[in-house]
């Protein structure tokens, strides 16, 4: 190979690699830098040095007519590729990308349909090949191994030579035994042929030294002897698709995901810290490094309100160093830091550490793209949707009515719901009942320029509206513990035709429901879900999962309703009563007999319990009565127990009000109940009676006129009093005597005389 070509085998997203690379580039001072990456990004590279470009960022390539088929090349500030790009741009040296074109990659991905991003990022299906070497050498990951390597030699070309030797060995064994699988092997052949072709071209175009920055895995292949004609032949007939490319903002959490790192194993936050170590140069020793990290942890812990003494921070860094020494490593790795933090700062308790883990290890950075950089696939996707749906973006407000039974209507509705999910409020749903079994939706449309900005922000979540909406919903669900909010999200996902995201939200809802102790809240969630199940949303729904969730919620409620109704304030009791009656109806519609049985058991316990809030107990008894779970005698006994002392008049009043709500028939048909009620009213003293009057009035107000009249006639006939106290049948209760009470009864029952 031409001696002007210098190959630098790097570790993707490895801060150690990046530091060594920068040192090596400084030493070599190449005339041109070639970087592993799709050449479609050549024109985009020069934007990287703009002041508005904040890492993490990614180069996005997507199929022009099908944006969902896409490919990302993410860069963090510590990615060697990013540093190489900046190095060249700052010195005015040309940068070229030399991997196979995204056009071919995407065409191939479409063929296999199982394009794995992680696989594309690392050098092997098991992650980075350096991780494999590190594993053999007994290190936690490639970064720890690299550190050890960098520590033992000075950063620079020597490191790259050592790695090349190791990888060449690894590669020979792997290729001979087909360790990577045939598809992967084939793809490497194509990619490396392209790389060799590009390298030859660069050598022809440029007279000076040329630096090639590429995954260590590919270095041996570029050294390999082959002719231009051979390489041309390899790549000649590859299928291609039309590709568009753009810079897009990326985030720390996606960086951790897309790079195939398990959460918390090797994380962007940690790598950034390592990068700082390398950038500060040699004067930053292991001690300062450990102290820096432990101070960061302490700072985060303090922000969470935990007392962390500086003395403990010092101890933690000392322990990290001692641990590294025991494990034979020159500097503490993430594992040592973690163990030391746990023992010295958190008193062995994982909980506080978990509070800060996300911010500490993953980081919360979101990248930004400079305004001068051309945008962007979501806008293109929206345009495509608008064409398909025949909707135009207009400033003027316009109302449209959609019939969801037609394909066009459903399409429009899906689009608008998805846009709402990603915060692009182009349309506002006017008809609140939409989606609950009705097939109509009314939307108010109005486009404003700010929505373009929102669209750009949503890019963090995905490149098509569908992807972005689904990912954003899932992210929101993961961050939320509010049950009602989550139920809303589930519904929103179903309306937006995102079954996958809906499933995620359902799982989050289940988890949130378990940790919630607010039974009334849970009860109000059930009707929403049951109505989705029962009436559908004019879209396919994950029925099985949804009904599993409803049964789980119902089981939870059935177990907790009693304790939720004990010793609560009247206002709370009232809320619970309302939620309970909605839940009861929904449970009936849901139609699981076992759950209904358990519910009745719980109702019976509420009705029997003497500390249950009267309003709730009244409803429970009524439901038991209506379901005929208890016979008349049992209901009547319970009813009169609730009305007689030691129940105070106010309690009894609340009980009666909630028992009577929902129809007069119960009293008309059940004389015993009427008698108990009658007896209680008669026994009230004047003061309590006047106090209770409004409550009673409310209780009766919902009865139909005819019902009220029938009750009145029953009371008037004297039958009630007879039945109530058979022992006093012969006493002075003459019809005349009863008649004296009639005017008052009319007032209570609200019947004009």
């Amino acid at each position: 190979m031409d001696p002007r070509a210098h190959l630098f085998g790097i570790r993707h997203h490895g801060p150690g690699s990046a530091a060594s690379l920068v040192a090596a580039l400084d030493a070599l001072d190449p005339a041109m830098v070639l970087i592993e990456g799709a050449p479609e990004a050549d024109e985009l590279a020069h934007y990287a040095a703009l002041p508005g470009m904040k890492s993490p960022l990614a180069l996005l390539h997507y199929q022009a007519d099908e944006p969902a088929n896409s490919l990302f090349a993410p860069f963090a500030e510590y990615s060697p590729e990013w540093q190489a790009m900046l190095w060249a741009l700052n010195r005015g040296r040309p940068v070229r990308f030399i991997d196979w074109p995204a056009a071919c990659a995407l065409a191939a991905a479409k063929d296999t349909a199982e394009q794995d991003l992680a696989e594309d990022e690392g050098g092997s299906p098991h992650g980075d090949p350096l991780d494999m070497l590190a594993d053999v050498a007994g290190y936690a990951d490639g970064e720890a191994w690299w550190n050890a390597l960098v520590e033992s030699s000075r950063p620079g070309p020597e490191v790259f030579a050592a790695i090349e030797t190791a990888i060449t060995e690894l590669r020979t064994i792997s290729d001979a035994n087909q360790l990577l699988g045939i598809g992967r092997y084939q793809r490497d052949l194509y990619r490396e042929a392209f790389m060799r072709l590009a390298l030859r071209q660069a050598l022809k175009d440029e007279a000076g030294a040329i630096a090639v920055v590429l995954g260590a895995w590919h270095v041996p292949a570029l050294r390999q002897k082959s002719t231009q004609a051979d390489d041309r032949a390899i790549v000649r007939d590859l299928p291609r698709v039309k590709v568009e490319s753009a810079w897009v903002p990326w985030s720390d959490s996606r960086l951790a995901m897309a790079s195939g790192y398990g959460a918390g194993v090797a994380a962007p936050g940690w790598y950034r810290h390592l990068w700082q170590l390398h950038r500060e140069g040699d004067d930053l020793g292991a001690q300062a490094f450990a102290a820096g990290w432990q101070s960061r942890v302490s700072g985060l812990l303090r922000e969470e309100g935990l007392a962390v003494a500086s003395a403990s921070t010092i101890e933690a860094s000392r322990l990290a160093l001692a641990l590294a020494a025991i494990r034979g490593e020159p500097t503490p790795g993430l594992a040592e830091m973690h163990d030391a933090t746990l023992a010295a700062l958190c008193h062995g308790d994982e909980t506080p550490l978990r509070l800060v883990e996300r911010r500490l290890l993953l980081g919360e950075r979101v990248g930004a793209v400079d305004e001068a950089v051309p945008q962007m696939p979501l806008a293109a996707d929206l345009e495509r949707w608008q064409k398909r749906c025949r909707l135009k973006a207009e400033d003027l407000e316009r109302e449209i009515a959609l019939d969801l039974r037609t394909e066009a209507g459903l399409l429009k509705s899906t689009l608008l719901h998805r846009l709402v999910l990603i915060g692009v409020g182009w349309g506002r749903l006017l008809d609140a009942e939409a989606g609950r079994g009705t097939f109509r939706e009314t939307w108010l449309l109005a486009w404003s320029p700010i929505l373009s900005v929102r669209l750009a922000e949503a890019l963090v979540y995905g490149v098509t509206i569908e992807q972005a909406a689904a990912n954003k919903a899932a992210a929101q669900a993961a961050a939320s513990t509010d049950i009602a909010g989550l139920a809303g999200l589930v519904k929103a996902c179903l309306l937006a035709d995102l079954p996958q995201a809906a499933a995620t939200c359902i799982a989050c809802l289940q988890a949130a429901a378990v940790s919630s102790s607010d039974i009334a809240r849970l009860m109000t969630t059930v009707p929403t879900l049951v109505s989705i199940l029962r009436y559908g949303t004019a879209r396919p729904i994950p029925e099985e999962q949804l009904s599993a969730l409803v049964s789980a919620l119902a089981a939870e409620i059935n177990a907790g309703a009693l304790s939720a109704s004990l010793d609560i304030e009247p206002a709370e009791a009232d809320a619970l009563r309302k939620a309970m009656s909605g839940y009861d109806q929904a449970l009936g519609l849901f139609g699981d007999n076992h759950l209904v049985e358990m519910w009745q058991r719980e109702l019976a316990m509420i009705a029997r319990h003497n500390r249950a809030a009267p309003a709730v107990a009244g409803l429970a008894l009524r439901l038991l009565h209506d379901r005929q779970a208890w016979d008349v005698e049992a209901v009547a006994a319970s009813f009169s127990r609730a009305l007689t002392p030691p129940a105070s008049p106010a309690e009894a009043g609340a009980f009666v009000e909630s028992f009577l709500a929902g129809g007069a028939e119960v009293l008309v048909q059940d004389r015993q109940l009427l008698a108990a009620l009658d007896q209680w009213l008669v026994d009230l003293d004047d003061e309590s009676f006047i106090e209770l009057l409004p409550m009673l009035r409310r209780g009766f107000a919902e009865f139909a006129i005819s019902g009220r009249q029938r009750i009145l006639s029953l009371v008037g006939s004297g039958l009630v009093a007879d039945r109530a106290s058979p022992s006093s049948a012969g006493s002075e209760l003459s019809p005349e005597f009863v008649e004296q009470a009639l005017p008052l009864l009319r007032t209570i029952l609200g019947i004009e005389a």
């Binding site: 000392r318 025991i326 163990d339 746990l342 958190c346 062995g348 289940q510 939870e556 907790g560």
Partner: protein, 360 residues
């Protein structure tokens, strides 16, 4: 010589292993340590000595925890081992002292009756009265001896001791010095001195360490067994051992039932089902491996004396409920939910569902 002691200490039982490790140990040793930190970790976790002597594993679990513990002792910070009952805290601390100091006999069992005289020093009152305060009249405690000789001292169940007595340790741990005001003198600890304390983290509310003292310890939490297979094996084995030593009438093997106990305990303890699909309410009890063992033993006794002669669902049910429901309100709720969402729907658990329903 016939053995007259019921139990030998760790350094005697494993003398051969310790010698082999010491012989092959060429790494740097902290002052007054019998072997290097690396060799200590090998001694605890098992492996092979340089000369090929096999080293048995004293602790089965995460190597990283033991490394943290040893590194702590090497940095002259005190070590606190926390864990549920039956997670081998005292066992680990005994072996650590045996390996590092060559003796595990310096131990103070902390109780609510422990006073400062048992921690710092006491007086020989006859001498004190006859001659007045003098070094001869001091009665030395294990802690004081450890300071003078530069060895480790163990303090068992640290949190059982009153908080005011605990705080005696603060000066000793931070300044490595114990003043004797009566003699206007002080004992200065030699290198190698350190404290290993153990405490039960369920009981920490009893006499919670003051934050001043807590800060002077590095804490290592020894967790319950990591996998269900490991735990099931431990429980099965211990139930058989204890049951036999209690002379319980023999019964049919109950491996299947014990597997169910362990599964139920683990799921409730972790707050989620084993497959991770369902989150569960957590319970107030610790549901430790030790408790699973005792449920197994009780069910055995019940089955053998009163029941069908084999451990079955009814024999388990009452014991399980007793072990799970410690706080009547919250725990019954959690159990109820678990019953409905998990037990009822799991294949082959129907009998257990019925049996537990009968009990609650």
């Amino acid at each position: 010589m016939t053995e007259t002691r019921l139990r030998q200490s760790a350094e005697e039982t494993y003398a051969a292993e310790l010698d082999a490790l010491k012989k092959g140990d060429d790494r740097q040793r902290p002052a007054n340590w019998a072997m290097s930190p690396h060799a200590v970790v090998d001694y605890i976790m098992g492996g092979k000595a340089k000369d090929g002597t096999p080293i048995s594993a004293k602790y089965v679990g995460n190597r990283r925890l033991i490394e943290t513990a040893v590194a702590t002792l090497a940095t002259d910070r005190a070590l606190l081992l926390l864990g549920l009952p039956g997670t081998a805290k005292s066992w680990v601390s005994e072996h650590l002292t045996a390996a590092i100091s060559g003796t595990s006999n310096r131990v103070i069992q902390c109780t609510s009756g422990t006073d400062e005289n048992q921690i710092r020093y006491g007086w020989n009152y006859a001498l004190l009265l006859a001659k007045g305060p003098s070094h001869e009249a001091l009665v030395r405690t294990p802690l004081m001896r450890a300071m003078q000789d530069g060895t480790l001292v163990r303090m068992e169940e640290l949190t059982r001791m009153g908080s005011d007595v605990q705080d005696t340790l603060i000066t000793i741990l931070s300044e490595k010095m114990m003043p004797i005001p009566e003699l206007d003198d002080a004992i200065h600890a030699r290198p190698g001195f350190n404290v290993i304390a153990t405490a039960n983290n369920r009981d920490k509310g009893v006499n919670e360490l003051s934050s001043a003292l807590k800060r002077r310890f590095n804490v290592v939490v020894l967790p319950p067994p990591a996998s269900i297979e490991e735990e099931t094996e431990i429980v099965t084995r211990r139930v058989a051992e204890i049951g036999t030593s209690l002379d319980l009438p023999p019964i049919a093997p109950a491996d299947k039932e014990i597997a169910r106990i362990v599964m139920l305990f683990r799921e409730l303890r972790d707050g989620q089902t084993l497959d991770g699909k369902l989150k569960l309410k957590s319970v107030s009890g610790s549901l430790s491996t030790a408790e699973a063992i005792s449920v197994g033993i009780n069910a055995w006794a019940e089955a053998a004396h009163f029941g069908s002669g084999a451990i079955d669902a009814p024999a388990l049910a009452a014991n399980l409920v007793g072990a799970v429901v410690k706080d009547p309100a919250a725990d019954s709720l959690a159990l109820e939910e678990y019953l409905e969402n998990v037990v009822r729907k799991r294949d082959g658990w129907r009998d257990l569902y019925g049996a537990i329903r009968d009990v609650i």
